[in-house]
């Protein structure tokens, strides 16, 4: 016979008590009862001679605390000078870092998509597909969007801006920079052929693009410097076309690369046979980047035009590296080719991106 029911149950510590494990459950969107179940299985009960009711009460209480904190986590800088919760600095850092952490499965689904209401509506599909709770998907999505909105209009380097406003670790701030950059340029990442790439692959590429191809790479005090690609540079890329349109140059380039690689790779003959196609592929990508549509397709183009042909010829990563080095460097020896600066700026990024993307 249940003679009593607990109507009210709260616990407030002068120093706010937060259990990291429960915090993770909350972030992952577990309901209180699910979290209690998992905790019971985790053995915390025996450890502390507690009962299921105790766990239930504790979990509820912690969830409430997190909910109250959430408002502050939206502007992490406030967490440090707010008076409501007394939280030691290292715990604050933990709270922020975990709140802004995201699942790589989730980010792969929305990377490059517009962070709009429409995308948010589709989150239940994402949730279904990834097995991440809808609640957690929403938090992650809102985090992306919040960071995007704040840094969008700011001057100065993207990663630093994110760190200043959201107090994230260097690593996490870089990841967010990638997410913001991809969202802003709407790079296609969802195609089937790109599925084999991880978020970290893309994040690496984003880093390359940000530090070499954006306005900020040249002038570091303009708005949007790190989010938008340098238009002038994209325009200049058209000049590279000469490498494939001028037959002499193309042949010269090929022979230089072949000379350098002969005997150093097992796929020499395949490379030699395919050189012109590969070179055309890379340079056509460069020449088309003035179109927004083609910018979006940068990664899919790289895969289709370059990575796939090489992969079918069974190039190893070492082969790839060797080829790209010599392909880039040989262009410097071509005396009629005048666009060395543009070439280096283009190939530097393309080379590292391809190397990162060239895996199974």
């Amino acid at each position: 016979m249940e003679i009593m029911s607990v109507e009210l149950d709260v616990f407030v510590g002068n120093t706010t008590i937060m259990d990291e494990e429960v915090y993770q459950f909350w972030l992952d969107g577990y309901t209180v009862s699910d979290a209690v179940k998992v905790r019971m299985e985790g053995g915390v009960l025996e450890e502390c001679e507690a009962s299921a009711e105790v766990l239930q009460s504790d979990t509820m209480d912690q969830y409430r605390t997190f909910q109250m904190c959430e408002r502050l986590l939206h502007t992490p800088a406030k967490l440090a000078n707010q008076l409501l919760f007394q939280i030691p600095p290292h715990r604050q850092a933990m709270l922020i870092e975990r709140y802004y952490a995201f699942d790589s499965a989730f980010v792969r689904e929305v990377l490059g998509k517009k962070l709009s209401k429409g995308t948010k509506k589709d989150l239940d599909d994402v949730s279904l597909k990834t097995g991440i709770t809808l609640k957690s998907c929403r938090r992650q999505f809102d985090n992306f969007k919040r960071v995007f909105k704040v840094v969008e209009e700011l001057k100065g380097p993207l990663v630093e801006n994110i760190q200043t406003h959201f107090l994230l670790s260097d690593k996490l701030a870089r990841d967010y920079a990638a997410i913001v950059f991809f969202a802003n340029n709407r790079f296609e990442t969802g195609k089937r052929k790109l599925q084999y790439l991880s978020f970290q692959d893309f994040a690496f590429c984003a880093g390359q693009l940000i530090s070499n191809w954006t306005v900020g790479a040249v002038d570091n005090m303009v708005e949007d410097m790190d989010v938008d690609l340098d238009k002038e540079f994209l325009q200049d890329l058209k000049d590279l076309k000469i490498l494939i349109t001028d037959k002499d140059l193309l042949d010269q380039h090929k022979s230089l690369v072949c000379t350098a690689l002969r005997g150093k790779t097992k796929v020499y003959s395949e490379m030699e046979a395919n050189f012109k196609n590969l070179s055309r592929g890379l340079i056509n990508i460069a020449a088309k980047l003035t179109n927004t549509k083609d910018v979006r397709d940068l990664f899919i183009d790289l895969v289709e035009k370059f990575i796939e042909p090489c992969r079918s010829d069974r190039w190893t990563a070492a082969d790839m590296k060797l080829f790209l080095i010599h392909y880039t460097n040989s262009a410097h020896i071509l005396d009629t080719f005048k666009h060395q600066v543009t070439w280096d700026r283009y190939m530097g990024v393309i080379k590292s991106c391809i190397l990162k993307m060239y895996h199974d």
Binding site: M1, E2, I3, M4, S5, V6, E7, L8, D9, V10, F11, V12, G13, N14, T15, I17, E47, C48, E49, A50, S51, E53, V54, L55, S57, D58, M60, D61, R64, T65, Q67, M68, P76, A77, K78, A80, N81, Q82, L83, L84, F85, Q86, P88, P89, H90, R91, A93, E160, Q163, T164, L167, D170
Partner: protein
Amino acid sequence: MPGKLKAKILAGRHLPVMDRASDLTDAFVEVKFGNTTFKTDVFPKSLNPQWNSEWFKFEVDDEDLQDEPLQITVLDHDTYSANDAIGKVYIDIDPLLSTEAATVISGWFPIYDTIHGIRGEISVLVKVELFSDSNRFRQSSCGVKFFSVFCNTRDALHLSCPAPSIPRCYRLAAVHGFVEELVVNEDPEHQWIDRIRTPRASNEARQRLISLMSGELQRKIGLKVLEMGGNAVVGYLQCFDLEGESGLVVRAIGTACTLEKPGSLPPSAPSASPSMETKECVPSPGRRSTLASPVLSVGSSQLSQGFSLSVPALSFSGMTLQLQGGAEFPFFTFTRFPPGFLLHVGGVVSARSVKLLDRIYNPDEPETRDAWWEEIRQEIKSHAKALGCHAVVGYSESTSICDEVCILSAAGTAAVLDPTLMQEGCLDDGGEHRYCVFCHVPYDDFNSPFPAHLAQCCTCGRHKVPDVLFTTIELPREAKVSGKGCLIQARLCRLKKKAQGEASATAVSNLLPFMEYELHTQLMNKLKLRAMNALFGLRVQISLGENMVVGLASATGVYLNALPSPGGVQIAGKTPGDTAQEQHISNMQRKINDTIAGNKELYEINPLEVAEDVSGSPIPEPQRRPRLFRSVSESSTEVPELDLAYGRKDAFVLEIDDTDALEDMHSLLTDAPAPSGFYSCNTEVMPGIYSWTSAVQMFTSVRMFRLGNANLTNQGVNKAFNDLCEDLLKSLYFKVRSMVPCCLCHLNFSVAVPEEELVQVTVTAAAMTFDKDAALTTTLPAAQIGMFVYFLSLKVFTWFQPLSPALSVFPASSVDYGSFADRCSTLVELIKVKAQTMRRGSIKTISSLETGSPLLRDRSRSVRSTHSYSSNAVTVVKMTPLSFIPNTRIIKYLGIINMFFIRETSSLREEGGVSGFLHGFITEVFAMVRAHVAALGGNAVLSYQMKECVFMENPNKNQAQCLINVSGDAVILVRHTEVSRLH
């Protein structure tokens, strides 16, 4: 015109959006004191306004300064309609009125609204210039210091010997006696106007009124203290009685004292004799129930511990009055005493009285209420006399109100105080102070006021001691205990018929004696089951509800070496021959025996060893001490029979005559012990644990349960209440499990019956960790103290190594930031202090750091490699219900904190239901207390109490309201180790 109050409004931050269109706010501030109001300019379109106002100056009487709070209102300017209030800050000016407390109030305060809670923060600067007061007939009592608890005897003594050159806070020069006062008013919530004003206006009126009333009360008490020749109130205890229709009573008791800064010469003892009118006892409806339990007297202390320097000179003008039979009450509100203060303890004395409330017609002359309390105090006094004692220590008063019925309660510990101390003002350290003296009864066998089981003292074998001892005070430091103590609670819930007025009062009065008796029995049984023989810090609370009365008694049980070992508990059946029952009883008996044996092990009670220890140690022959007050049976010439006394296992017999008793027995046995690694007590610290660390986590937990509408029986509700308390304790242990080994200290349960079938339990305590491996003996001979401190500072030195050579270089990672941050902030404090005491700037590194924050900034940079978010880092403020934090030293008392808040909501569901609402509110209250302390320049609140937490809900209307009253002493603390490092 004795004072000028100056306030400056600097800036705001995190303000709420008040204009939906622009998502911004046009904020300005009104600063009000008394009837004068100033305004700042409007700072348009900002959530972080920078007003940088001029100094607003108020020229006021110091009487007003004491009564009134400074009221700061933040508003949103609106051109077309009325300005919207964002929220308010009330600042108590009192700490600025004493020259020795805070000199400036400066800091960020949460802006509080009774409907929305905290809405942003405001930075304020407040100063007071006092002119010398030439008026002899003044009404103010500026400069009288108030302390929630004052602890002259440093409690963490075992742990840490203070460096001699550190300024001691205060020295107790004289104790003048008991002071009390009460003021009454109509409750704004129950005035007719409340029907037409907004809830916000009503709440604010109430908050303001209570603030005014407590200011007035404090001033009046201060006046009495001045009359008595004192300069401080120690053990100040202020309470509110929300009497509903009949009004609002704010009352306070305390002990008037003369404190002085150490080093100064003791003043010629002031001998002002307060002319207390004897108040006429107004006959009133009501009955009383009283209970006096046997207790014993505590004797002299051990003076060899190196703190005899700080032993106060005591002069008792109050005492003298009492002995002459004056109206003065020889009561003392504190629970800890300077060594030698207590000579004998006679027992717990308590008195209750049930009254019918009626409207207070003339608030300026609250005679009825005064008379009620007078009556109760007289009763307490006579109980004490009956126990052969002339004083009552650890005295407190409380009420419980339900509709128009009110229970007034008072309790304390009857005691005999040391006459040598009182007369000479110095301690006779030539005399030997035995650990057991305080256990000897102050009355003799034949004149015993009640049938008491007296035995020979187990330590000296020369005097009589009672078999058990109950007291309301802390365990005297000189007491010798075996093993550790534990929290013991008696819980009781009794149904009562719903009735009105006098009928209800009669029902309650009839019930009370039975409840007292049962609580007492439960305490006794539980004590025996734990193999202990004394209770300290006993607090019995009786709470009145419409259809039930709830009783909760909490105390800390210990095994006093001087008292006889408790015999076992024996059960006897009433009907011999009933084999089934006999079987049952023998099972039960076995269980009980096992429990007792288990508890002995659990609490490490091993009295025999201690006895040998004692007899083996060179304790000199007990010298006779002069006893002026009462001749104790010192003539006991019987041969000491130590062994006999121990062997005397006169078992405590429990008769089981019906199923009720069986149930009770069951509940006794099902009281779960604390999980391993945990201890709990309701005294300041746990007897038997001495190696505390300075890690303190203060918390408040509130639970409320509703009894089902099933057929309620006494047994059923009793069990439900018992389960609630047990579950609550379990939850608390679980919450602080990361602190193990840990003790919940000063566990303060308070119970209320806010509505029919609703029981609310509020707990405040401090979880403190201790060093399990520190093999410290209970007493530390003076010679060892030095060594121990040396050991401690060595340990801490390693912590500090990264800091010491170049203060600006902090290791980036691999540091435990928690304690690190802690250390940094205290270090900053310390450096400030250092700068104050040195005033020379002879050490360059230190003077350059004087500004305080660079250190903090450095610290957070080490957390965040690139960005600092700490330019305005918030001061860490520790809070504890104890009067100290282990391993720290109080370098300044900044003043008493006494705050009252109301919070109301009409969107209960949206705020997360009752739990969400209350969770948020308590969090906000903590934040406001911390902010006020930080603004005074403090870093801790000691003797913190949540004295009131009145919760009301109306779920059907989606509404709830809560009133919270908190108090404590704001102080500046530094770690001992840091202090000694600086010197």
